[in-house]
C-alpha cells in the first residue's frame, strides 16, 4: 500500500493499476449486494472459484464479487467479461456450466440468460436487457465492475480523478460555482439546490465546520443509498473530499442506519484504504487539505433521516428535530456550521467535476437536472434499482423498465417518496418525474422509493399502513404530529373496519391539513401526504368503504368474505391443514366449505389452493 504524496503519484499509480489488468482477460463479476447475498450470491462466487480450481483455471479467469447491480428481482446476477454476458437467477450448481462456457467456445449458458417476460426472447448482454437498456447509469455505472473492497479497482475506472482535478485547478469558490451551475438538487428528499446550500455554508465564519453524509435511508422500499455504499463507497468519499475542500470542513461523518451492516463494513474498508493511501487525513496528496472521515451508526429511528434529528443522534442524544431556523448551515453539529447531503448527492459531485457542470445540466428537465436513482419495487415484474434521467415518465418506468405488473394485473398507483410522499394514480402515468411535477401532484420525490401497487391493493389500507408507520416513528415531541398521526390512523382503521362515515373524510382532510402546517419538522409536515393524496385520487374507494362498507380491492378483513367455490374444489384438503381458525370443513376428495363465522380472513387457504377455488368477495 504505497502512500500517495502528490497528484503525480496518484496518476502514476492509476496507470499501474490500469496496466495490471488485461481487459481481455476473462472475469466473472458476481453481485453480492445485500439482496443477492440473501439470495445466495456469495455461495455462487464460492462455487465458481471451486469450479475454476478443479479445472486448474484459477489464474486465467478471475472471480470478483461486486456491489449491487440493481436487478434484485433476478438475483443472484453476474456478468461474464469481456463479453458482458449477463446471467440471472444463478445457482451454485450452475458454476460448472458457467466455467465450462467461459473457457472454451465462449457460448453462453442459455438457461441463465435473461428472458423477456413478454416476448420470450433471451438476450445476452446487460445493455440488451430491457431493465437496463433505458437507464442512464452515472452513479451506478461502476457497481457491476469494481470490487468495492479494493481501492485500486476504483483507481482503474478513474476514481479520485475528480479530487485531483479540484486540487490542481479549482478554488473552493469555483467548486461551489460548478455545483451551482450543474443544477444539482439534494437527493435526500426535499430537493434543495445543493449549490445554494454550499454557498450559504461558505458565508459562515464560525469554525470548525463539518460535513455529513446522510445515509439513514429510512424510507421503506428504498435501498439505493445502501447499494451505492456497498458497491462504490469511494465515489461517496471522493465527493465528500471535494466538498470538504470547497466548504472548509476538516471533519466529516457518514451517518449510516444500523440496518445496513454490509454498507457499514464496505464503507469502513474503503475509509481505511483511503487513509492508507493518503487520500484521507492530513495534507492530502500534498495539497495541504486535511479531512478526516468517520462512520457513525444509527440505532433504528426513521426520524433520524431529518437533518436536525440526525445531528442530535451524532451528538449522542435522542433524535428529536429542532425548529428551523436556524438551519444546520448556520448552527449544526455542536452548534457549528454543517452541511448535510444525501449519499447520492455526494456521489454526484465527482461526476460533475470530471465531466463538467454543463454536461450534468444537459441531463434532465429545466428545473430538475441530472439522473435520479429509484428503487422500483412492489407489484412490478422487474424490481430493482433504476437510474434514469429526470423527466422520464412514470409510464416508461413502469412499462418500459419495470416490465409491467405481474400476473397481468392492472396498474393502480405508485407511491413515490416514501411515507412523506404520495400515491400517483394510473391517470397520471404520463407525468414526467421531476421535483416540481411530483409536488404539483401532491406527492414528493423523496429519496427515490417507488412502490408499485395494483388492483389488489386497497388504497385506504395503504394510507392506514403509512399512518401506522408514522405514529411509531414520530419522535413524539410536538403535539400535532404525535397525536395527529395516531388520530388519523384511528380514523382510517375505523374506515377499514366498516365503521367510517363521510364526515370522517372531511375530518381527515382538515386534520391532515392542520398537521402539515403545525408540525415542528419535515416528518410531521409531510406525514398526512399519503392520506391526502389517496383521498384526492381514490376518493371513490374511500366512499365505497364508508357508504357501502365494502373493500373493492378485497383487502380490508372486516369487509370481505372468503368462500369456496364448490365446482372448483377438488377436496385436496390443503386448506384445512393451514387454516388458522379451523374454519374449513370437508371430507377429502369432496368439496369443502368455509364457516364464515370462524374465518378470520388470514388468507392462508387462498395461498395454497391450487385449483383457485377459494374466492374472496
Amino acid at each position: 500500500m504505497p502512500r500517495l504524496h502528490s497528484l503525480q503519484e496518484l496518476n502514476e499509480l492509476r496507470e499501474v493499476c490500469r496496466n495490471a489488468v488485461d481487459p481481455k482477460k476473462p472475469c466473472l463479476t458476481v453481485c453480492c449486494g445485500s439482496g443477492c447475498t440473501a439470495a445466495g450470491g456469495n455461495d455462487v462466487a464460492a462455487a465458481l472459484r471451486k469450479a475454476l480450481e478443479k479445472r486448474g483455471l484459477e489464474d486465467e479467469i478471475t472471480v470478483k464479487t461486486t456491489g449491487c447491480h440493481g436487478f434484485c428481482e433476478k438475483g443472484p446476477v453476474m456478468i461474464v467479461w469481456p463479453e458482458g454476458t449477463f446471467y440471472n437467477r444463478v445457482a451454485p450448481s450452475d458454476a460448472t456450466a458457467i466455467v465450462a462456457s467461459s473457457s472454451n467456445g465462449r457460448k453462453p449458458v442459455e438457461k441463465l440468460l435473461f428472458k423477456d417476460a413478454i416476448t420470450g426472447e433471451r438476450v445476452i448482454t446487460e445493455d440488451e436487457v430491457p431493465f437496463y437498456k433505458k437507464q442512464t447509469r452515472v452513479l451506478f455505472a461502476n457497481n457491476g465492475r469494481i470490487d468495492p473492497k479494493n481501492i485500486e479497482d476504483y483507481f482503474r475506472v478513474g476514481g479520485y480523478s475528480g479530487l485531483a482535478k479540484v486540487l490542481r485547478e479549482f478554488t473552493p469558490e469555483k467548486v461551489v460555482d460548478s455545483v451551482k451551475r450543474s443544477g444539482l438538487r439534494g437527493r435526500g428528499g426535499a430537493g434543495f439546490p445543493t449549490g445554494v446550500k454550499w454557498e450559504a455554508m461558505r458565508r459562515q465564519e464560525a469554525t470548525p465546520k463539518f460535513i455529513i453524509c446522510n445515509a439513514d435511508e429510512g424510507d421503506p422500499g428504498a435501498f439505493m443509498d445502501r447499494s451505492l455504499l456497498e458497491g462504490n463507497p469511494h465515489s461517496v468519499i471522493e465527493g465528500m473530499l471535494i466538498g470538504a475542500f470547497a466548504l472548509g470542513a476538516s471533519d466529516g461523518f457518514v451517518y449510516v442506519r444500523a440496518e445496513y451492516p454490509l454498507a457499514v463494513e464496505h464503507l469502513g474498508v474503503a475509509i481505511k484504504q483511503a487513509e492508507e493511501y493518503g487520500l484521507l487525513g492530513e495534507n492530502i496528496l500534498g495539497s495541504g487539505l486535511t479531512f478526516r472521515l468517520k462512520i457513525v451508526q444509527g440505532a433504528g429511528a426513521f426520524v433520524c433521516g431529518e437533518e436536525t434529528a440526525l445531528i442530535a443522534s451524532v451528538e449522542g442524544r435522542v433524535g428529536e428535530p429542532q425548529p428551523r431556523p436556524p438551519y444546520p448551515v448556520e448552527k449544526g453539529l455542536w452548534g457549528k456550521p454543517t452541511v448535510i447531503n444525501n449519499v447520492k448527492t455526494w456521489a454526484s459531485v465527482g461526476h460533475i467535476i470530471n465531466r463538467g457542470a454543463e454536461w450534468y445540466a444537459g441531463i434532465g428537465t429545466e428545473h430538475s437536472k441530472g439522473t435520479m436513482v429509484f428503487s422500483l419495487v412492489g407489484k412490478i415484474n422487474n424490481t430493482g434499482l433504476v437510474e434514469v434521467p429526470m423527466g422520464i415518465t412514470i409510464r416508461e418506468m413502469i412499462e418500459g423498465i419495470g416490465g409491467g405488473i405481474p400476473g397481468g394485473k392492472k396498474f393502480k398507483a405508485v407511491q413515490i417518496g416514501g411515507p412523506s410522499g404520495g400515491c400517483i394514480p394510473a391517470s397520471l402515468m404520463d407525468l414526467p418525474i421531476d421535483y416540481e411535477a411530483l409536488t404539483g401532484a401532491g406527492s414528493m420525490m423523496g429519496s427515490g422509493g417507488m412502490v408499485v401497487m395494483d388492483e389488489d391493493t386497497c388504497m385506504v389500507d395503504v394510507a392506514r399502513y403509512f399512518m401506522e408507520f408514522l405514529e411509531e416513528e414520530s419522535c413524539g415531541k410536538c403535539f400535532p404530529c404525535r397525536v395527529g398521526t395516531q388520530r388519523l390512523r384511528e380514523i382510517l382503521a375505523r374506515i377499514c373496519a366498516g365503521k367510517g362515515t363521510e364526515e370522517d373524510l372531511v375530518l381527515l382532510e382538515e386534520m391532515g391539513g392542520m398537521i402539515k402546517d403545525a408540525s415542528l419538522c419535515g416528518l410531521g409536515q409531510t406525514a398526512p401526504n399519503p392520506v391526502l393524496t389517496t383521498l384526492r385520487y381514490f376518493r371513490d374507494e374511500y366512499l365505497t368503504h364508508v357508504r357501502d362498507k365494502k373493500c373493492p380491492a378485497k383487502v380490508c378483513k372486516e369487509l370481505i368474505l372468503y368462500h369456496i367455490e364448490e365446482t372448483l374444489c377438488d377436496g385436496c384438503h390443503a386448506c384445512v391443514r393451514v387454516c388458522a381458525s379451523e374454519a374449513i370443513l370437508g371430507e377429502k376428495k369432496k368439496p369443502h366449505q368455509i364457516d364464515t363465522g370462524k374465518c378470520i380472513r388470514c388468507g392462508a387457504c387462498l395461498e395454497v389452493c391450487k385449483p383457485k377455488a377459494v374466492l374472496v368477495t
Binding site: S34, P220, E259, Y260, G300, S313, V377, G449, R577, C602
Partner: protein, 169 residues
C-alpha cells in the same frame, strides 16, 4: 452486578472515551454483548459520560435497536416496509404470531423467539422478507413462514407441507 460482571462492563466501557457523542455507540456495544441493555450497566454508562440517568433512559427507549428486556434465542424480525406490505408482509407476520402463540410482537414464554417488526432492511426486491438472527429469508408465504419457524424449533401446529410447497425459503 457481581465482581466479574463489573469487570466485564469496565473493559467494555474502557474502549470508549467519555465524550457524550459516544453514547449511542456504547449502547450498541452493550446491546450486542448482552443482547439487551441491563439497568446496572446503563447506570454505569451515566456515570462514565456524566449524563443524567433520565437522559440515558430516554436514549435507551427511543431507538429501535435497543431493548431493555432480554431477547429470545432467535430474533425474528418481520419487515413491514412498503414493498413487503404490498406483497403480503402483514399476513406473514400474523401467521408467525399465530404459530408462536403471541398476541403481539414480543418474546415467547420459553424465550426461544422474540418477534419484532422492522421497517425496511433494504431487500425490497425479495419481498416479503423476514430475518432470523443474521439470516435473511425471502419471498415468504404463510406456508414458508411456518416451515421456517419449525427449523428453529417452533412448537406451532405441525403442518404437512401442502402439495407443491415443499421447498423452504
Amino acid at each position: 452486578m457481581s465482581q466479574a460482571e463489573t469487570q466485564q462492563v469496565q473493559t467494555l466501557l474502557g474502549h470508549f472515551d467519555d465524550a457524550r457523542s459516544n453514547l449511542i455507540a456504547i449502547l450498541q456495544e452493550v446491546q450486542s454483548t448482552y443482547f439487551y441493555l441491563p439497568q446496572p450497566v446503563l447506570r454505569r454508562v451515566a456515570e462514565k459520560l456524566n449524563v443524567p440517568v433520565t437522559e440515558i433512559y430516554h436514549v435507551a427507549t427511543f431507538y429501535n435497536c435497543f431493548s431493555l428486556e432480554p431477547v429470545g434465542k432467535h430474533l425474528v424480525q418481520v419487515c413491514l416496509g412498503t414493498a413487503c406490505h404490498v406483497r403480503g408482509g402483514p399476513r406473514v407476520l400474523d401467521r408467525i404470531l399465530r404459530d408462536l402463540k403471541l398476541g403481539a410482537p414480543g418474546t415467547t414464554s420459553d424465550s426461544n423467539f422474540t418477534v419484532r417488526t422492522v421497517r425496511c432492511i433494504g431487500c425490497c426486491g425479495l419481498a416479503p422478507v423476514v430475518t432470523v438472527g443474521n439470516k435473511v429469508h425471502h419471498h415468504l408465504t404463510q406456508a414458508k413462514a411456518t416451515l421456517m419457524l419449525k427449523k428453529y424449533g417452533s412448537n406451532g401446529k405441525p403442518t404437512e407441507s401442502p402439495a407443491g410447497e415443499a421447498e423452504d425459503a
